[in-house]
Symmetry: C2
Subunit: 198 residues, 2 copies
DNA sequence: GCTTTGAGTAGACACTGTCAACTTATGAGC
DNA sequence: GCTCATAAGTTGACAGTGTCTACTCAAAGC
């Protein structure tokens, strides 16, 4: 096959798109550079002209997924009441995990490429955390920075933990009453509210 | 090489041991049947006489790790006070995650073999959850089953979420105050206590 | 017009899981 | 004690993976 007249940028973009598609369809385990190339009809080495290694492709995919995630969180409606906004944040967080389970798992349950080698990826992750941190700040306006961080971690841990447990498949087999899984998130948010009350 | 006079059971056990060692050393990603065979000095097909597929080896490893985990939780000292015992359970849970991060990740952040195909694995997982569930029961003696399950999920989610976030490596780069990570667990347990208070 | 460089192809290597065929030791039935 | 089935090893192959190297070829710079 002769080289194709791809303007360079195109193939790079196309690789990322295909990688995201594969992850959304089948999960990150099925992601391989060769499969990406195959889907795009190029040789198995073509993607290497745009990504030094498969980790770099993965890092770029993760970066974009963090961005998607942030945008999803920011897109939720707010009403200005700090407590309500924190709760709607939790719901949105959880909604993303349910709507894009495989992408969510990519962010939080997958060994990511070495963070030090991929600062752009981490910058996007940091931004997502800042969103939560800011909402906590509104709820506890008098608290010290450290205290706010601790509470942000607490809230994050609970919401993330629940989203993460829901994907474990262990949960389905554990003998819970029917409906418990559906109520789990609102219940947890309720508990969080109680825990943070003055 | 002639076949060795291994009594069959030995090689099976040895495979599981090596697999656990590999996971503890380098993580589950580095686990491969061939590597196990190599370390044991047997041919790359020998393990297949004891495990139909690599998933079956993994399932057995996961099963044992769940058991280790349960034993770790049960080994903690209790003083009989329901609130204290729940807290010490959280501390122990967290302790396991910190002491055996790679094994913990195996249980909760790794795509496990299909649960339906490996019921023994799931039975062990269920048992671990029962431990937590029982402790919640003591704390809320009057509550309905459903309510207890919801609170058990809440507690589990928080503790698991924190343990899981701590491994994300995202946390190191997120700009937290020094010491926050050390305080995170006691703080979360404190919040849990407040959330569950009558 | 020559040369450098970017972006593609093709082939090789080592690694993986798994299938198939072969060997050999052990134990049961007679 | 002989035979034969089976369990538990062996080797060899195949397709899949990431990645190294060597090649082609077109466009851009001077």
């Amino acid at each position: 096959m002769p080289p194709r007249p791809h303007p360079a940028r195109d193939l790079r973009e196309a690789c990322v798109d295909q990688a995201l598609a594969i992850i959304g369809d089948v999960g990150v385990e099925a992601l391989s550079i060769r499969e990406v190339a195959r889907r795009l009809g190029v040789s198995h080495q073509a993607p290497y002209k745009h990504f030094p290694s498969s980790d770099h492709l993965l890092a770029e995919v993760v970066r974009r997924t963090y961005r998607q995630f942030s945008e999803y969180l920011e897109a939720r409606p707010r009403n200005g009441d700090p407590g309500d906004d924190l709760k709607s944040g939790g719901v949105a967080y959880f909604g993303f995990a349910r709507e894009f389970p495989l992408h969510y798992r990519l962010l939080f349950s997958t060994p990511l490429p070495d963070p030090a080698s991929h600062p752009e990826m981490m910058a996007e992750a940091r931004h997502a955390f800042q969103l939560l941190y800011a909402d906590i700040g509104w709820v506890k306006p008098g608290a010290s920075d450290t205290e706010r961080q601790l509470d942000a971690l607490f809230v994050w841990a609970t919401v993330h933990g629940l989203a993460s447990l829901m994907q474990t498949a262990a949960l389905d087999q554990i003998g819970l009453d029917p409906g418990v899984l559906d109520q789990a998130m609102p219940h947890a948010l309720h508990r969080i509210g109680k825990a943070l009350a003055p």
